[in-house]
């Protein structure tokens, strides 16, 4: 069994998201082929459910070392050697981190050891937690350097003036569903109320848009389960046991019915499942998006072991152009299990975070009186 996180019910710690992605410097630049048009699906990918729908069912692992955005705008496709170098670096990190620690070591220094993210700081995450896979993604036989394929530079477009204005006007330290904890949320006043903490810390949604839509790979707990029936598609997101219940060929819920993970409707188009999601709450805020966010997801079976996932994000109130990403959902290994992600039930952290801040304030007030 590969190293993966067993979510214990007492585990309420939440993590760095986007910030955790490997930042890889690539050598040996070659002219960049862009994302190629879809090749016809292999015969194995033609499996159908009893209802005649493309059969997408199963347990999938979406962990990957490929980041959402890539550092080199000209290079979507990695050479085999480049991909192997990334994988070797991660394998070496895992090997180092798996060595027994010194039982006589001291506690981390007050304020952390200077390293970034939750894995450093006060030692919140050791290697037990981390499971972002051990390979880069492969799409149409190409090793990929980013999930984003459009814009062709592999970067999420900058948010527009309207979105910046909205962000400024929002509460200080606005929580977002993919806030890299410890980064955007440590601003002054960010510990005043539970509502100011990131959604992951509050156990409302997984961090890093793991639930989506669009669903993105994160530091750990990257399993998804898909069940298809005559009238529905159900996508279970491991973190936080969010079941996306998606009716086929039905209209959206009324516009004022907002949901944390949006209101999704689905249809089949040939070999593809197409899911369209709107009606997000104004608290979901995927990468600063507004409640006008619309996400279109397409799933199709590339081969026996692989489901392809392609998403397009649109929100004119946030980005001047739509943007698109794609990555495979890989069939889980036969001994992989999806465990219960009981986050809220063991969330001692949120209370402790707020209590800790009140304690610091009390200490500061006492010091001032002296």
């Amino acid at each position: 069994m590969r190293i993966r996180l067993l979510t214990l019910t007492r585990a309420a710690v939440v993590a760095i998201g986007v910030a955790s992605f490997l930042s890889v410097t690539l050598a040996g630049q070659a002219p960049a082929p862009s994302a190629r048009p879809r090749r016809p699906a292999a015969p194995a990918a033609k499996a159908r459910t009893a209802e005649g729908f493309p059969d997408l069912q199963g347990l999938y692992n979406t962990a990957t070392l490929t980041p959402l955005e890539r550092p080199d705008p000209n290079k979507l496709v990695l050479s085999e050697a480049e991909a192997q170098a990334i994988e070797k670096t991660e394998a070496a990190r895992i090997e180092r981190a798996s060595r027994p620690s010194d039982g006589g070591r001291d506690a981390p220094p007050v304020g952390g050891d200077g390293s970034t993210g939750a894995a450093g700081n006060v030692g919140g995450y050791n290697n037990f937690w981390i499971d972002r896979g051990n390979s880069t993604i492969v799409v149409d036989g190409q090793r990929r350097a980013s999930i984003v394929v459009d814009p062709p530079n592999g970067k999420v477009p900058p948010v527009n003036a309207e979105a910046r204005k909205r962000a400024m006007a929002a509460l200080r330290a606005t929580p977002t569903s993919d806030a890299p904890e410890n980064v955007e949320t440590a601003a002054r006043g960010a510990y005043d109320n539970p509502e100011q903490r990131p959604l992951g810390e509050r156990c409302l949604l997984g961090f890093g848009s793991t639930s989506g839509p669009p669903s993105l790979p994160v530091l750990y707990n990257n399993f998804k389960q898909i069940v298809q029936t005559k009238d529905y598609v159900m996508i279970l997101v491991e973190m936080n046991h969010d079941a996306r219940i998606i009716p086929l060929n039905k209209p959206h819920a009324p516009a004022h019915i907002k949901k944390w993970i949006g209101d999704s409707v689905a249809r089949y188009e040939g070999d593809q499942l197409v899911i369209e999601t709107t009606n997000f709450t104004d608290k979901t805020r995927f990468r600063g998006a507004s409640e006008n966010l619309k996400v279109t997801e397409r799933f199709w079976r590339a081969d026996d072991k692989t489901l392809m996932y392609r998403f397009t994000v649109e929100d004119p109130s946030t980005w001047s152009t739509p943007w698109t990403g794609e990555y495979p959902w890989v069939v889980a290994e036969s001994d992989d299990r999806l465990y219960e992600y009981a986050c809220h039930e063991g969330n001692y952290a949120l209370g402790d975070i707020l209590r800790g801040e009140r304690l610091l304030e009390a200490e500061a007030a006492a010091a001032q009186k002296k």
């Binding site: 019910t9 109320n193 159900m234 304030e361």
Partner: protein, 291 residues
């Protein structure tokens, strides 16, 4: 008395009626109404797909109980009165009566020393009921909370999604062996026995309750559920509950579940985690609201 019928005929008719009633209230199949043959799903088994909901008071108390003023009570000059924290709820906070869902109308066979713990649970209900904190409900409670749940049955999988707290459980169709870790919703292994889906549930922790009345179990809980279609829009739900640490013998609950037949029926989002933040963390705001 109906003219022309002999005493024997009446006796036979009465016996037949009794038989029908007995059959309907037990797990027997192949006779009377219980022999309803459900439409088949794509896996060839009875089709359990749909949105279902219980309509009874089992979530208040699985045992028979009369209506009372509130879940949390205190002594009043002429008998119990609503406790201060729930007083403002008035009639909305009162408890409807019910004859219970335990087979034979009985009581839960607690070991004598365990009854004291239930009493304590009732006295400290506001602090202890996991539902108050939006914790995962466990099995069997998830199936008779006042929220709908949805069964997804395909040729490859059976999956339950509950509106309350967004609880879920995947039903293993191949036994993966003993649960590797305890959980709130347990490990469910399903099999078909004729018209019934039988789910064997183990691997529970000791933190869920059966109802708001403080009925509890240990981590030795073992629940065997049977879901049987009894008509186009009805399921019979049965659960046999075993926990040698808490009960002297297994006991069983039975109830109908009703299909939510509204054309627009759907599971709504009920992320109650957000709703209990003020209760659980509000006192640690920088500027706490008055309590």
């Amino acid at each position: 008395m109906i003219k022309g019928l002999s005493g024997t005929t009446i006796a036979l008719a009465a016996a037949a009626l009794t038989t029908t009633l007995v059959v309907n209230s037990t797990t027997a199949v192949g006779q009377g109404q219980a022999a309803y043959r459900a439409p088949r799903a794509s896996d060839g088994h009875p089709d359990l797909n749909g949105i279902w909901q219980a309509m009874n008071t089992a979530n208040y108390d699985v045992e028979a109980h009369v209506a009372r003023a509130a879940m949390a009570l205190r002594a009043g000059p002429y008998g119990p009165l609503p406790a201060a924290p729930v007083l403002a709820m008035g009639a909305i906070g009162s408890v409807p009566g019910g004859l219970g869902v335990i087979d034979g109308g009985g009581e839960i066979p607690y070991k004598p020393d365990m009854l004291a713990k239930r009493k304590e649970n009732q006295e400290k209900w506001l602090e202890r009921d996991p539902e108050i904190k939006c914790y995962l409900p466990g099995i069997p409670r998830a199936n008779y909370m006042p929220f709908p749940f949805q069964i997804f049955q395909s040729s490859k999988a059976i999956f339950f999604a509950y509106e309350y707290a967004g609880a879920v459980r995947n039903i293993y169709l191949k036994d993966p062996g003993p649960a590797p870790v305890d959980s709130w919703m347990g490990q469910a292994v399903g099999r078909w026995e004729g018209e019934s889906l039988v789910i064997d549930n183990t691997g529970f922790n000791d933190t869920t309750w059966f109802d708001r009345a403080g009925n509890f179990h240990s981590d030795k809980l073992h629940v065997v559920e049977r879901f049987t279609r009894t008509g186009p829009d009805h399921l019979r739900y049965e659960a046999t509950i075993e926990d040698p640490e808490t009960f002297t013998k297994p006991w069983k609950i039975t109830m109908p579940l009703y299909r939510r037949v509204e054309p627009n029926a759907q599971l709504m989002e009920f992320k109650c985690v957000e709703f209990v933040e003020e209760l659980m963390y509000g006192q640690w705001r920088k500027n706490p609201l008055p309590r």
